[in-house]
Symmetry: C2
């Protein structure tokens, strides 16, 4: 059975996967980029290790389609209007397969270079999941985030694997991954815990 998987979801020490005050200038919220230095090392931070490389690479292995929340596509809120924005991800997005963007507002598919097409799904998370599995054609589906999308699929009990990278930074606000009482439903357990100098990798899976 193909799986729904979350990979490399970076969470701050105080539990946030995005910082406060998200905006076009700060798409990850204030300080949110600090969550990702372990993937894109800076000159002064810890170097990425082979362990980190393995987790980053695992996020692409066997993946045939991606689902993401609207905020991971772009900053536009509400109706799309005549916006011609084609997403945060550049002209050749790093997906190379069908991407399903959860939104309440219809939008024509956007075909990008390199095999990525952004499809906009307005009839809910279950529909997006069915469409993504169909597009993946026997491969797994990656759930890219953000927090709200991951929480919805976790609550529905359909996430098979969730890899969280705990990053030793403090964001002091933003979007929490694990909200009480619905953030971590029953039925998931920690199956791997291993750390590099930069982050702690935790994998959850259905028990």
């Amino acid at each position: 059975m193909p799986k729904l998987r979350v990979h490399n979801l970076s969470m701050s020490l105080d539990g946030y996967v995005a910082g406060p005050d998200q905006s076009p200038e700060n798409p990850l919220g204030v300080g949110g980029e600090d969550l990702h230095h372990w993937i894109f090392p800076t000159a002064t931070g810890p170097r990425r290790t082979g362990l980190d490389d393995r987790f980053v690479a695992a996020g692409d292995e066997g993946i045939g389609a991606t689902i993401m929340g609207r905020n991971m596509f772009g900053p536009v809120r509400g109706d799309w209007g005549d916006v011609t924005w084609r997403g945060w991800w550049g002209d050749d997005p790093p997906f190379h397969h069908e991407v399903f963007v959860l939104t309440h507002h219809a939008h024509d598919p956007i075909e990008m270079a390199g095999g990525t097409t952004f499809n906009f799904v307005t009839d809910g998370t279950e529909s997006a999941l069915a469409q993504a599995f169909a597009a993946a054609d026997g491969q797994d589906v990656r759930l890219g985030g953000g927090a709200a999308a991951v929480q919805q699929y976790l609550r529905a009990g359909v996430v098979d694997e969730l890899h969280v990278a705990i990053v030793p930074v403090l964001l002091r606000g933003g979007e929490r991954l694990f909200e009480d009482p619905d953030g971590v439903p029953e039925g998931y357990e920690v199956v791997e815990f291993v750390s590099s100098p930069a982050v702690s990798h935790v994998r959850l899976a259905k028990a």
Copy 2:
């Protein structure tokens, strides 16, 4: 200057330092004991490493007095009544110095074996801190927990060091250490991040 220090505060992956539904039978809340297996290893869990030993030992070094919230002393809530309970900590508590218990209800000091005396402070956290520093006589003061006590002293900006051990378990409720928006005040930063197979150790200090 003597410091106020928090050590070995174990926090679950979802951010809890005690589980839900605390009671005399479950003083740490349901599942809360899972937070402490890295200190008191079980037959099947990961073994404690030298790194973990170092952090556990650091919690006692240079400490001359301890402050704790009432729930860390015992399960009694509200007025003490004629309860003769002498705390969770056994006949020879592992402090061997003056302990200051934060409570709204007066109680005579309780002198235990081994040099530990439990003092009950009813006039607030600031008074408890002053009394503890006086009793420590030039040594540091340890803030033992729980979450509410740590949060109060963090908000007051008087915690000099906070060592959190992130434990890869899910508690799905209970007492959160880092509550938005007041849990991690400005002015603290991560100064150490190092992991064993059992836990990730994070030290915060005043910037």
